[in-house]
Symmetry: C2
Subunit: 409 residues, 2 copies
């Protein structure tokens, strides 16, 4: 934990201040002094809480490599199998690709990350180990949680549950799950394995739930039953939560129950039926974060490693146009996700909060050359300074194309 | 019209070729020669048909100026009135802002443009004249059509129809219209004024139609009645055409009728209910183009003057992920819009077309440093070379922040 003076910065675009960081947290914020002394000179830039990428697939990312044509079958299963067929020939190893993608994320200002690592009978723990190597490489620069993620389901291929168990023994932080009805077609047994592993390893849960409409609401209720019965409030996340985007009459009650059970939601800011009711979730007090998801991988060519770009996408897909709305999208992409990884941070329970700049808040920042938060989201300026645990960890790092940076700075 | 040899380029990412341009059109395409002779050296770059921005509001754009907070009322009318209240104090004149925005569009590779210019009793012809000045400034560099656009309706404020008439006499190329039910609340009289002006001035029609669902389908049918009765096939465009995004049972029949009446559709690639059925429109043979719409104006802070970015948005909002789909979005943003301005170009009637590179096609190009069309859409590389009517009009022009370039090159 570090001490640092950050001078002449504008938190959330407000007045020019100096920020004193002591032992990795904000100890003082004061109007900018004429001669503040040595430290990080902000030059009047905007300062924001660091971006948080809380739904990322570091293992599948091919950022920095040429876009490959998609050659698989349509649909989710086609994409899963397209990855299985091709991931071993992705030019660089999982560790190399995960390390590069993590470096891009950090250089763009995301220092709080939750990534999935696929565990299945085809890849065993190879993908997990590649992601763990990337985390280790940047251990001083970013906080990274890893989910042991059963992308291909748990019940379809013998041995998957044992591999998930092995990943958790090897250091995975959470147990994942995926579409218990649609993939394994046995939601109770799927969720029993997931929550049993969570209990045995005393880890949190993060379940991919692409299931739409009534089906997704049913699975959501099954998850909530277990959260409540097992006392896992505050330790479970549903990723994507597509059924909440459905507008069905059951959605408000599901949101209230998620809030009461302190289940968090992460998503990828998708279009065409993947738009979460962001305001309703915030008003209910549900913690919501956003992430880059897969990037230039064997599923899809989208994604560029920039969570500020994803904040734009979040605002755009929600039809946000006022400053207050766009700042809310940015708050979700920074403080919102951070509050999923660190339950000590208060949730974004209403619009117009500008969190992260009270004494005691973590010194986890990104500095951007923009006149306002809205301008930062619209223009996504490239040159950024990144502060992690009170230390400057990246200054205008340009990671254009594939390279193997020694570290971010 | 110019002659030019463009060497070592890859049309739509294909094989390396040399392109001979004679009198502004392609006269020959041949495998790249070792020593092609003087001309534009492509260096192996991707070459695409020039981008076409066929739904643009040059008069309202504040690109290059700081984002202003939105201070108006919600909704469409609130935005219209927010513009009316603020446009005169936008730091730069309409002509300056329109000229800068046009320069950005061209530098990014859009040489075929249809812009609206608002005509109402508040601004008179001031906005039209500003846009006309921008067009004049870059007359050698881009083809620009101007729509005399009754943003505030035609019937609500006395004198608007006369102003539209004056704009057409002053050189507007098309007559506009807007939401005949929702704004003027008298669709027949609104459309009668529009089509009467079109007939008297022998100009085309381009009607903004934000009206949703059944209402928009009703207005679409009223427009089609007039196109058919007046023999205006091929000369009418509906902008936004939101009702076609509704998924209502009446949509396929409306699309068939639009195709038969050769009515074109332009849109802005919006999210949340503004996603056109792009594939169905292409299969029916309807000409579809896309545009930047308003940019950083008194409606909304979105937009950056880059039609390649808008091609990404079009692909994203349509959920496109295969190369063929993403290339279709790019084809709409290039050739698709061009075919609305120039009916001599064939429409994009199916996926997988790579138009624009047959002998006789116009020498209207953008060169991008990308390995494939999909990569160009995903990465949107900045440095571009732009060819208009067989002449190089912009090379890597960077218009970052407000400036008044002498010309684009």
């Amino acid at each position: 934990m570090n001490n640092l003076l950050i001078s002449k910065v504008r938190p959330w675009g407000g007045e020019l201040v100096d920020i004193v960081v002591t032992e990795g947290v904000i100890s003082e914020i004061a109007p900018a002094a004429d001669d503040p002394g040595p430290g990080l000179e902000g030059g009047g830039r905007l300062i924001l809480p660091a971006l948080s990428d809380v739904h990322l697939h570091l293992d599948s990312s091919c950022l920095g490599l040429p876009v490959r044509p998609y050659t698989g079958e349509p649909g989710r299963w086609g994409r899963i199998m397209n990855d299985r067929k091709n991931w071993r020939t992705a030019e660089r190893s999982v560790a190399e690709r995960a390390t590069f993608t993590l470096a891009v994320a950090i250089a763009n200002g995301a220092t709080r990350i939750r990534t999935h690592a696929q565990v299945d009978v085809d890849s065993g723990l190879e993908k997990f180990e590649g992601v763990a190597a990337a985390r280790e490489r940047y251990a001083d620069v970013a906080d990274v949680e890893i989910v042991a993620f059963p992308q291909v389901g748990i019940l379809l291929e013998a041995g998957c549950a044992d591999l998930l168990d092995a990943a958790l023994r090897a250091g995975a932080d959470l147990i994942g799950g995926i579409d218990p009805c649609e993939i394994d077609r046995d939601p109770v047994r799927h969720l029993d394995v997931v929550f049993d592993l969570a209990e045995r390893h005393q880890v949190g849960v993060d379940i991919h739930l692409h299931e739409a409409g009534e089906l997704g609401l049913f699975t959501t209720a099954l998850i909530l039953d277990r959260v409540e019965a097992l006392g896992m409030q505050g330790r479970v996340t549903i990723s994507h939560a597509r059924s909440l985007c459905s507008g069905l009459p059951g959605v408000p009650a599901a949101i209230d129950r998620l809030a009461a059970a302190e289940v968090a939601i992460t998503h990828a800011a998708g279009s065409r039926g993947w738009e979460l009711p962001l305001i309703a979730l915030a008003e209910a007090g549900v913690r919501v974060g956003v992430g880059m998801d897969g990037q230039r991988d064997f599923w899809s060519p989208y994604g560029n490693g920039d969570m500020l770009d994803r904040a734009w996408q979040l605002a755009f897909t929600n039809g946000f146009s006022t400053d207050q709305e766009i700042e809310h999208a940015l708050a979700v992409a920074t403080w919102g996700g951070a509050g999923i990884l660190d339950r000590g941070l208060r949730p974004l329970d209403r619009l117009g909060l500008h969190p992260g700049f009270a004494p005691g808040d973590p010194a986890e920042f990104v500095l951007v050359d923009a006149p306002s938060p809205t301008a930062a989201v619209m223009d996504r300026p490239g040159a950024r300074t990144v502060v992690h645990r009170g230390a400057v960890v990246s200054v205008d790092t340009d990671l254009d194309g594939f390279s193997m940076p020694g570290r971010c700075e």
